[in-house]
């Protein structure tokens, strides 16, 4: 329970990043035993502030006081010694090591020079029992479920005697049930006098667990509130700075024929564990099928198998009636399937390519940009290039040779005053020879370059000739940059991609605009099937709203949409039907209108569909 004692104070913190004012005169105070929710959108400056408090960043100005004493942290080491612990959004755990190793790292228990692993395990077990965390010290991190890994992070902080605990977006990866457990742990810790800063952008969670709420926007603290006096709507308005559509407006779906048909699909993950077990479902034209589930229950693998990025072990995938089981990514794309990948940095775009190149990333080989990849014709092209280039060069060189013999050489000789070459001394000839050589080389290089450019033009011309109108060009090896740029300009305008020009590298755009770029590329082709994985992860609210509208628009235009998302709200808002995945299986298929958040949460946590859905009348009545 919160007391009056202030344990942590941030005073007038400023932090400037290139182009962004991440923290702008931020003030914050934390009481002993308090759970303080720090609410804000992505990019509001919450994480920056916390990284400053934890010693990972250094503030440009301002001060931090711990228990009334001003401190300056050069590294997390000092923050840890002052009793501050942090659970990062992306867990800072070493996957191949044991729980105990991860906990003691940096503060090892040793006996002589050797590690005392028994003692380390004993201390971890002790902490685990004391706070009801049920963590096994010998377990290897990568074998543990996400919720358990988070507890290891908490133990890491407690092992270092943390009195102030910073939890950065701790619920993003948890099931609703795990979230409940986490809240219980947080209340427990608070009762024992640990103060907690809880960073989140989820309004309902804030209301459920916080003692006090501070809202940040654009690097500033824009307000604070008490849960009892707040509603989700009031907090949302404060957080975004305007009214937010918490729901997406859409008409009822009018599903038509089946576009995607998946039957008994099984696959393994990268570590060769089964990831998909006999998954079957179908998506119809004009509907959005949402795939709900806690991350790591096979959704990633499902999308990868469907789009040809992963090899399925058994089962069948049909798109538009065509069997595309384990087809190549290109075959899937050309079957009119658009794919917004989960990891846009890794798969979705090439950072060093321009916006226009990124917009043809998987259609660059099609008309009007070019013709299919022509690696088989490469030797032909090389010969096609080399023969004219050398022939032209030889002709030009022979011509110049004559000019040189008849005009240049006599000129050079007369310049040096040499009349009789035979009679001239060797030393006297040095100059003329050198000049002649330099002249020969320079001219020949220019001729070589000209010859190569001519050959270049010739290859281009040959490759574009031949086919009748409307047919694919035969060996369109050369890019049509005009067509690529025109295509890009259209999409940039239509999808409101904020970029200085289409020649800007895609990697330099903001996260939201990168995602809009990927969406524009995939949606712009008007695919019959649209697979969107985590389409709004980590981007600003404006872009989220825009992408949501686009998904609905695609559905209404007749596309079949498969939407995979870890955000339950997104699934609920966009889907017409929902399948729930748990441990690689589809545990339930329900109509979106006939299921509650709580029921989905139970299903995602592995509850039996019959048990959950039997209670439907009661749930919908409540």
């Amino acid at each position: 329970m919160p007391t009056d004692e202030i344990v942590l104070e941030a005073i007038d913190i400023c932090k400037q990043f290139p182009g962004v004012r991440a923290n702008d005169h931020v003030n914050l105070s934390l009481h002993k035993g308090e759970i303080l929710a720090l609410l804000g959108e992505n990019g509001a400056g919450k994480s920056t502030l916390m990284n400053i408090i934890y010693g990972l960043y250094h503030a440009d100005s301002g001060a931090i006081k711990v228990k009334g004493r001003e401190v300056t942290f050069v590294s997390p080491r000092e923050a840890i010694h002052s009793g501050i612990g942090m659970v990062h959004q992306h867990f800072q755990l070493i996957p191949v090591m044991s729980v105990a190793d991860n906990v003691v790292l940096g503060e090892e228990v040793t006996r002589g020079v050797l590690l005392d692993q028994t003692e380390a395990a004993r201390r971890v077990r002790e902490l685990s029992q004391q706070y009801n965390l049920a963590v096994e010290p010998g377990a290897i991190i990568e074998e543990l479920p996400v919720g358990m890994q988070q507890r290891v992070e908490i133990i890491k902080a407690l092992y270092r005697d943390a009195e102030i605990l910073i939890l950065d977006e701790p619920t993003a990866v948890l099931t609703p049930q795990e979230v409940e457990d986490l809240f219980k742990i947080m209340r427990d810790l608070s009762d024992r006098g640990v103060s907690i800063i809880f960073i989140t952008h989820k309004l309902k969670e804030v209301l459920a667990v916080a003692h006090r709420i501070v809202v940040m926007r654009g690097g500033q603290v824009v307000g604070s509130a008490l849960p009892a006096e707040s509603t989700p709507e009031s907090l949302a308005a404060l957080m975004v700075g305007r009214e937010v559509l918490l729901r997406v407006h859409k008409e009822a779906a009018r599903p038509k024929d089946v576009v995607l048909e998946v039957a008994n699909l099984s696959a393994h993950d990268d570590r060769q564990h089964p990831a998909l077990r006999k998954v079957s479902f179908e998506v119809r034209s004009g509907e959005v099928l949402g795939v709900a589930g806690v991350q790591g229950n096979g959704q990633t693998e499902l999308v990868e198998v469907l789009t040809g990025l992963r090899h399925g072990d058994s089962g069948q995938v049909r798109i538009n009636g065509k069997d595309l089981t384990n087809a190549s990514p290109r075959a899937v794309t050309s079957a009119s399937c658009g794919h917004v990948p989960e990891d846009r940095q890794r798969f979705g775009l090439v950072g060093d390519y321009t916006v226009s190149e990124n917009l043809v990333l998987n259609s660059y080989f099609e008309p009007p940009y070019a013709a299919p990849p022509s690696w088989r014709t490469l030797p032909l092209v090389a010969v096609l290039f080399a023969v004219p280039a050398i022939a032209i060069f030889a002709a030009l060189a022979a011509l110049w040779g004559e000019i040189q013999r008849l005009v240049v050489w006599p000129l050079v000789l007369s310049l040096f005053g040499i009349t009789d070459v035979e009679a001239a001394s060797r030393d006297a000839m040095k100059g003329p020879y050198l000049i002649e050589l330099v002249e020969t080389v320079v001219v020949a290089l220019v001729l070589g370059y000209v010859a190569a450019r001519l050959a270049f033009w010739l290859v281009n011309w040959v490759s574009k000739r031949g086919p009748a109108a409307g047919q694919t060009p035969r060996a369109g090896l050369v890019f049509n940059h005009t067509a690529v740029d025109a295509h890009a300009s259209g999409l940039v305008a239509e999808y409101d991609i904020r970029t200085p020009s289409v020649e800007t590298p895609g990697g330099s755009l903001s996260g939201g605009n990168q995602q809009k770029l990927v969406v524009a590329r995939e949606f712009g082709r008007r695919p019959r099937l649209l697979i969107a994985a985590q389409p709004t992860r980590g981007i600003d609210v404006g872009s989220i709203e825009f992408i949501h509208q686009q998904i609905v628009a695609q559905r209404d235009a007749g596309a079949a949409v498969l939407l995979v998302s870890a955000e339950l709200d997104e699934i609920m808002a966009l889907s017409d039907r929902i399948v729930v995945m748990y441990k690689g299986e589809i545990v339930a298929t329900v109509d979106a209108g006939a299921v509650t958040r709580e029921q989905l949460g139970l299903l995602m946590a592995g509850a039996h569909a019959e048990d959950v859905l039997r209670s439907r009348p009661a749930a919908s009545a409540a």
Partner: protein
């Protein structure tokens, strides 16, 4: 924006070379020689007269091809350290076609054109095949090309030494398959007149400028065209920059990996063929010692730009050509050139050092990225 690009593309490489030369001078002083005399000898030997300049240009020719080979690998995300091995394989295959396949089509010009073309092709194929093996290993097993290509350098030199083994008539050991039977030296027979690269310019002195330099220019333009203007180049660069995205977009990363190594190997093979067909007129061991390693620095100095490689190869050709004169004039061992080249490589790779020394503002960009981990990509 443009000035920043000029600083990066021209200014920093020049300063790198300058700084490396200065430090090289310090090494020369430390070893008790006169740096001024040494560098004077170097410049004289490289540009002093027509014969020297010809030597520079002849030395530059294979460096353009081998530099292109390395740069092409870089663009595809591969570090081909095996240029040396591919190069000597190309030298030998071109020599083989050069001496073993008589081409007589009546007209001497026509015979030369055909024979030279075939011999060059043989060089390219020899290098391409030798490059294809590490490419296949990389694509299908994930064996890292940095190690396999180096191993194939050693394997190549053993294989060549077996093929060219002079034998020992006294002990009754027969010579290798491609040896010319002189009984002492490990070398191939001379190539036929028709397989010799035509001489463009013949100044007084032992060295003549052959057609190779101009083939090198054409090759550089061709590679530029291939990388920047074609769909193949688009795919190749995408694999090099972000291979998961390439997979996503439907490109077969395996195929591009193999193809990158094949083309890179072919360019390396052509570099070897230049030495055989244009300079030595046969394959002799050590005729292109160290060429494949200089190529790495040549490519990095030019930031893998094909036309930039023409410039950096010229610079390196000059250093090689002037080295002998330097040693003759001042006594400094030619290996100092290699030290200077290593320093150039270091400064080019770590441009931040140069920026620090000369107080050049602006953000240092991360250079060529090659460490992709040991596994498959």
């Amino acid at each position: 924006m443009l000035s920043a690009r000029i600083v990066r593309g021209v200014g920093l490489p020049l300063l790198s070379v300058f700084t490396a030369v200065i430090i090289g001078g310090i090494f020369i002083i430390l070893a008790g020689y006169d740096p001024i005399a040494a560098y004077q000898g170097l410049l004289d030997g490289a540009f002093g007269d027509a014969a020297s300049l010809t030597r520079t240009l002849v030395k530059m020719t294979p460096l353009v091809f081998s530099g292109l080979a390395v740069a092409f690998g870089f663009k595809g995300g591969l570090f081909n350290i095996g240029v040396q091995g591919q190069l000597i394989m190309g030298s030998v295959t071109s020599a083989w076609i050069g001496f073993a396949l008589p081409v007589d089509l009546g007209d001497p010009v026509l015979s030369t054109v055909v024979h030279v073309f075939l011999a060059l092709l043989a060089g390219a194929v020899g290098g391409a095949l030798w490059g294809a093996i590490p490419g296949l290993l990389k694509a299908y097993t994930g064996a890292h090309e940095v190690i396999t290509t180096i191993m194939f350098n050693y394997i190549a030199s053993n294989l060549i030494s077996w093929l060219l083994y002079a034998g020992s008539p006294a002990e009754g050991i027969p010579p290798g398959l491609l040896n010319d039977g002189n009984g002492v030296i490990a070398r191939t027979p001379s190539i036929l007149q028709t397989a010799q690269l035509p001489v463009i310019y013949d100044p007084p002195g032992p060295q003549a400028l052959h057609l190779g330099l101009f083939l090198a220019v054409i090759a550089a333009v061709f590679i530029l065209f291939l990388m920047n203007r074609t769909t193949f180049g688009f795919e190749l660069r995408m694999v090099g920059l972000n291979s998961p995205a390439a997979r996503y977009s439907g490109i077969s990363v395996k195929r591009i990996t193999v193809l990158t190594m094949v083309i890179s190997g072919a360019l390396a093979g052509l570099a070897g063929a230049m030495q055989t067909l244009g300079v030595n007129y046969r394959y002799e061991p050590n005729q292109s010692l160290g060429l494949g390693f200089d190529a790495i620095t040549v490519a990095l100095l030019a930031s893998s730009h094909p036309l930039g490689i023409l410039v950096s190869a010229f610079l390196f050709g000059a250093m090689d050509a002037g080295g002998t004169r330097m040693q003759f004039n001042s006594g400094v061992p030619t290996e100092i050139v290699m030290v200077v080249q290593a320093l150039i490589l270091m400064f080019v790779a770590a441009e931040q050092i140069i920026r620090m020394i000369y107080r050049i503002r602006g953000k240092a960009e991360v250079g060529q990225k090659l460490s992709t981990g040991w596994g498959q990509r």
